[in-house]
Amino acid sequence: MSPLDQKLLRDLWRMKTQALAIALVVATGVMLLVMMSGLVNSLEETRRAYYERYRLADVFAPVVRAPERVLDELAQIDGVSAVEGRISGRALIDVADTDLPVQARAVSLPDFGAPRLNDVYLTSGRLIDRQRTDEILLLKSFAEAHGLAPGDRLSATMHGARRSFLIVGLAQSPEFLYTTAPGELVPDDSRFGVIWMSRSAMEAAYDLDGAFNEALLSVAHPHDLPGVLAAADRLLDEYGALGAYALEDQFSNRFIMEEISGLRASAAAVPPIFLAVAAFLLNIVFSRLLQAERQQIGLIKAFGYTDAEVTWHYFKLILIITASGAALGCLSGLAAGASMVGLYIQYYKFPFLVFEIAPSSFVIAMVASISAAALGGLFALRRIFALSPAVAMRPPAPPDYSQSGRFAGVFRRLLDQPTRIVIRRLVRHPGRVLGAVAGVSAGMALSGGMLTILSGFDESIETSFSVVDRSDMLVSFIEPLSDRTIHSLRRIEGVIDVEPTRSVSVVLRNGVRSHRGGITALAPDAGLYRALDTAGGELLLPEQGIVLTPALADILDIAAGDILTVDVREGRRPLLQLPVTGIAESLLGSPAYMDLAALNRALGEPDRVSGAYLRVDPNFQEDIYTALDAMPAVAGVSVKADARAAFQEIMDEGAGSTRFVMAAIAAIIAFGIVYNTARIAYAESAHDLASLRVLGFTKGEAAFVLLGELGAVVLISLPIGALAGYGLTFAIAEGFSTDLYQIPASFSPAALGQSGLAVIAAAVFSGWMVKRDSDRADLVLALKSRE
């Protein structure tokens, strides 16, 4: 082994604590990168495999009623590789643990064999016996939420008739990874069920003998999709086509895609932060090491080693630290990923999970971490080149302060010498001060931004469920009814207020852009459920035209004043041309609002309502449930408190849950930067501090010089950090917002204040730590060696 390599190993041993700290930061970044990209990869792969194995359709085409033979015509469409016709209908399930019946969907399975498309995965029990019309399979997640198992009986209302069924098996399906009740946005296992029944039983229950009401198609190549959708719509038009839609618009799939892309965004954003911190730390540690080894470097150079050899010698140190950190990170990322898989199976309800880490993620992790570390280290190593051996072996000349101010006049009287030292150090090294201010501000901005976002999540819930929706429950009817129904609801004892609403499913079109969704129509004097304008105030819906959310206007590339094509997908399915008359804010979903009378006028169906918002006296809740249950017109009731809880759960357990991790990381980084700023200040002034102590300055007086600089940096950073935090909030809010919910970016003085306090607390603690070291410093040793 060459003497230089021996020196390298001994240097490494001497700085083992720091080296370990850096290696661990690198390892954490690499671990997260490997684990998260592995998980995203695995989820993608599992989703694909699950869809493929259970033959999930590419196109869903609901109709009112179509004869079996139409399936052959659908199969003739260019690009269609398989077709399946099935019956699907609304149902209400009575479950023991709730007073209200739960909304559900009943889906047919062929009498013979497995379905060609949208197969189910039986998790327990057995398949249905086609001879027995009372046998059903129940969606596993729903069954578990209500403690139901094979062998249990369950009664359900279908098409107005109540029947009793025997659960023979529990099943999962890629079609129902996430379920949500009609008219609701937030998925919830317990509040929406799926029942599978034999085709013949479904035909009888829904009065669809020899007919189907939903066609499923699979498409050979993605580029055939637009053509297939159009052809299916044309072909099914005469059977009451409600509009064919592709898998990407299917609710469950859309939700899981959102979740995966949220995870992917975190996977892309978090690891680089760690690697940047590692680079920053390496830079600090190496700057100090090289400063301390000035004379040795000079000596090595004097022996005839070239700049390149000396640089390589020190670079190897960086390489060893980083590469071992990265290797550790790869291994622990692999282990963490493998152990997380179990959790993800549960959360995403996949029957199996393909754990697959792309080998490229190891390569990316290694290359990224080593380049980050190299960048950090090279800034320090650069100085080696500048040193001539003779200069290096002498103690460094005193830093030049001749350009800084010579205090005169009033300053001469006001400023004592330690204050002048602090001021000159700040003024003379603007680069260093700027760097420290940038670091501390960034740390504070990150914390402030994340804290604002944490309250943004609460605000999103609060706005959606307390400001926009002030009702206690939403009652939806089986079909649009006369507004007289409202009066019968009002007569129920305990109902305080009733407000009509109508929602219709539509496809909104503007040129080539389109969006599948619904229009929510509200009464002009609505108080229980209101549209809000972009400033958060109440929005009066204009007497004509449609009001969109900013997100929706963006999707459709349309502005107020433009004409929107509304393709109504129910009733007589008219095609409407409506002016966009306003923009409304919404943090949940992307609703389109209309005045109730205006919508009914446009549809040519005066005085119709499809549901009602209710405010009720909580003391009468059970009586109200009973009364609603007895009304045949009621298709379902959604209780706001349940919806709110489900929303909270989605935010806390889904991709939104990473916000807590991000907030913790932000806090750690803010502290790390402040602490390191203090450490650097101490390392650079240790010698001066020792001199002051020797001259008879007390520990406190000497610490003033050390901490004055840190204090000044923190004071400068606070307003900058607050401003930057406010700006950063918008970017973070954008990152956390999904199709389902938006996280508002707002100015939160409290969050910025808290992050400022956190920075001050970090500064006080760091100051105390370095002061302690400074107090303990060996004066003699500090003075003997110049560095």
Binding site: P395, A397, P398, Y401, S402, P418, R428, L695, F697, L779
Partner: protein, 235 residues
Amino acid sequence: MARLAFRTKGLTKVYGEGETAVHALRGVDLEIPEGEFVVLLGPSGSGKSTLLNIIGGLDRASDGEAWFQDNELTAMSDRQLTRYRRDHVGFVFQFYNLMPSLTAHENVELVTEVASNPMDPDKALALVGLSERAGHFPSELSGGEQQRVAIARAVAKNPTVLFCDEPTGALDSATGRTVLGVLKDVNEKLGATVMIVTHAAATAAMADRVIHFADGAIRDTVINQTKLSPEEIHW
């Protein structure tokens, strides 16, 4: 006989423990009368700097006693030692240890601001012949000038004792002589006890008392009957 500035009894300093322990001082007994110019000579590691650091209040003894006038240094707390350095002791080091961010004048003021009985900083700078350079920063001064600022800073508090560890070690002989001349003046004009640690044996010729150190103990002490002036010294 003059009052004693320093007195030590069995002063011992051990660094480290067990087999690797280094005995820097092995029971030193010493008496230094006030106002003397004392030179401590000896090879590296003989213990002379260690002695200076202990009686200067920078380091603590492992055993034994050290007294400054009537105060026992070895019994003082950190706070009391700081007070002692602040009020009585001036230090001059081989590498000057000036504050790079303060001008020559401000470096002197740094001390006069906190001392109990300081002299005018301008007077201290005049004493070392640097009145003209008062507004310069250390980076604008030569090595000899920096050392003279360090001396001015050390004497500006009107110290009772002035400790110099290799004050001429980093200087050429002509500059060194100037510095020694300044130290001689401080000793004679201000009456401060001056103790110099040096490798330059020739310096001994200008001292009242020369103490030879070897292996952590005093080998012998020489009282000079006739002293040379700094100008007469050559090394």
